[in-house]
Assembly symmetry: C2
Homo-oligomer: 325 residues x 2
């Protein structure tokens, strides 16, 4: 495609100063168009699988991904397959770099989190025929192989439970939505449930916060200092809710007496705090296990596996009660 | 060394059925003796660094490693170096497999946790001249490059604080010590501090538990159901302490009114639970950052870096109080 010899391509990749700028640019253009990645050891890889799978997650510092990965890895290990993990910091460009890096290091396939990514990344996955499975999401109608749950539906159901308790003025601390379809879907689920319920129910305030305790605490303080008087705060995950709870304790605000708090994920933290957090149980372990089985099936080359939707149930705990009179 | 042609070695590695059993065994013996790992793309690697570093941690599902790795990765990223993570499940054999796998995939260097490993692993690291840095530990006199803190000293100091509060009957829930020098050092530190204090102070009970909430809860129930009447329970990490606290709540045992609880690590959980956990602040972020800088310096080939010892301070919080009268 670049109309140059393979030797020139090799030089352009390994020793670019020895190739003219014109040639190098032609080669780079072809590389982009074809989605090519230099293969460390192409000969060995062409002969056999490396029995290594890559998992690319948004953040190492999130207990939810951690326990899912642990389960994913255990099933892979039973099949003699090794796992390498890379993280993206919720940055789509960093995700693409990690995908290329893991494929260049001979990963047989990938686990990716969430279903939406930039066209450039989708193109690369398609052109390189990367075997991958998505997790932590399940969107009806998505044509990608996926093992997860419906974030929108789960948030909708949780909000319905909050409304059923009698709450009408609801606030939300949601995760950063840009580049995170799970955070966006959770927000949309909360909003839609309140809209569907109709007046006098209202989403009185929305704060966006990174998934860290201190940001949950700050957002909660901001919500409580306003005059919109939310009686329930739904949080984008348990870390945000635990941060909110910590700040409530510091401010002398009674949970759930004055305000109810609702988390999402059901990480260990949720049942350890006082009061324990009402939350959505994300099937972390089951997702990890199923995702491994589905990816192994895809790599085996036999009958191609189907997407798997798992349930995400609302867990009633003491942080959710009826609103004060 | 195996007295065979390179072609035979290549066949033995890539297509073993084509090589006689005797030859194969001779080759495997030489491979073991020399610590050789097949190099995916040896030619490319011989020419240049891959700008990828491997981090091999005991468990993905531990918030403490997660935040340290996040910091480690951030410093690497500033230098244009990528990180791949693998985990061992606290199994020394699995650690050796991960070391070999990451080196075979072209890692320039490694971050390893803890300082003690089987001779086979030490041999491999030495013979292959693997550039590595140890973290989460610091042992006076250790000749390995290390960025960490002294687990024994930190546990000794924490126990001294518990004794200073007036506790004389102390129990410990410690992590699994086999193959985990940090857990062993923490246990030794607690034991030694109590011995140095002398009678009537006594370590009345020791339970070993995996680092999970439910095992901490179980161990706490076992300790409280005995008749040794500990007034303080020192835990090998915060997860165990949080599990103990959760069980105390379920059993109606007042912390710290009836029994004090002490954690280790100061993960986010420690300040979120009620009462907040007295604990040892492990310098997770600083360790991650320093470890990255030291490893990068080692890889740069300039002046070789020195080991770095960081402080691990005791944090007083409400879960530690004077014993009941």
């Amino acid at each position: 495609m670049a109309k140059v010899s393979t030797a020139s391509i090799s030089r352009a990749l390994n020793d670019p100063d020895k190739v003219s700028k014109t040639t190098r640019e032609r080669i780079e253009k072809a590389i982009d168009a074809l989605g090519y990645t230099p293969h460390f050891g192409g000969r060995v890889l062409a002969m056999s699988r490396t029995n290594t799978v890559g998992a690319i997650i948004p953040s190492m510092a999130n207990a939810m991904f951690a326990s899912g990965l642990q389960a994913f890895q255990e099933v892979l290990a039973e099949a003699g397959v090794n796992m390498l993990v890379a993280s993206t910091g919720y940055d789509p460009q960093q995700e693409l770099r990690q995908i290329k890096s893991l494929m260049a290091r001979g990963a047989d396939g990938l686990l990716l989190i969430g279903s939406e990514r930039p066209p450039q990344t989708r193109d690369f996955l398609m052109k390189r025929h990367v075997p991958y499975v998505l997790s932590w999401c399940f969107k009806p109608g998505d044509d990608q192989l996926c093992v997860g749950f419906d974030n929108h539906q789960a948030a909708y159901d949780a909000t319905s439970q909050v409304l059923a308790k009698g709450h009408r003025r609801i606030a939300m601390i949601c995760g950063v939505r840009a580049g995170n379809d799970r955070a966006q879907d959770r927000y949309d689920g909360v909003r839609t449930a309140i809209e569907d319920f109709g007046a006098p129910a209202a989403l009185v305030q929305v704060c966006e916060a990174k998934y860290r305790l201190e940001y949950g605490a700050e957002a909660f303080a901001a919500i409580m200092s306003g005059n919109r008087a939310a009686t329930a705060v739904i949080c984008g995950n348990d870390v945000l809710a635990a941060g909110a709870l910590m700040r409530a304790r510091d401010l002398g605000i009674d949970v759930p007496g004055q305000v109810s708090l609702i988390g999402f994920d059901d990480i260990g933290l949720a049942s350890v705090v006082t009061p324990p957090l009402a939350t959505v149980r994300v099937p972390q372990i089951e997702m990890g296990r199923h995702a491994a089985r589905v990816l192994l099936a895809r790599l085996s080359g036999g009958t191609q596996p189907e997407s798997v939707q798992l349930p995400a149930d609302f867990i009633h705990r003491a942080s959710l009660a009826a609103p004060p009179d």
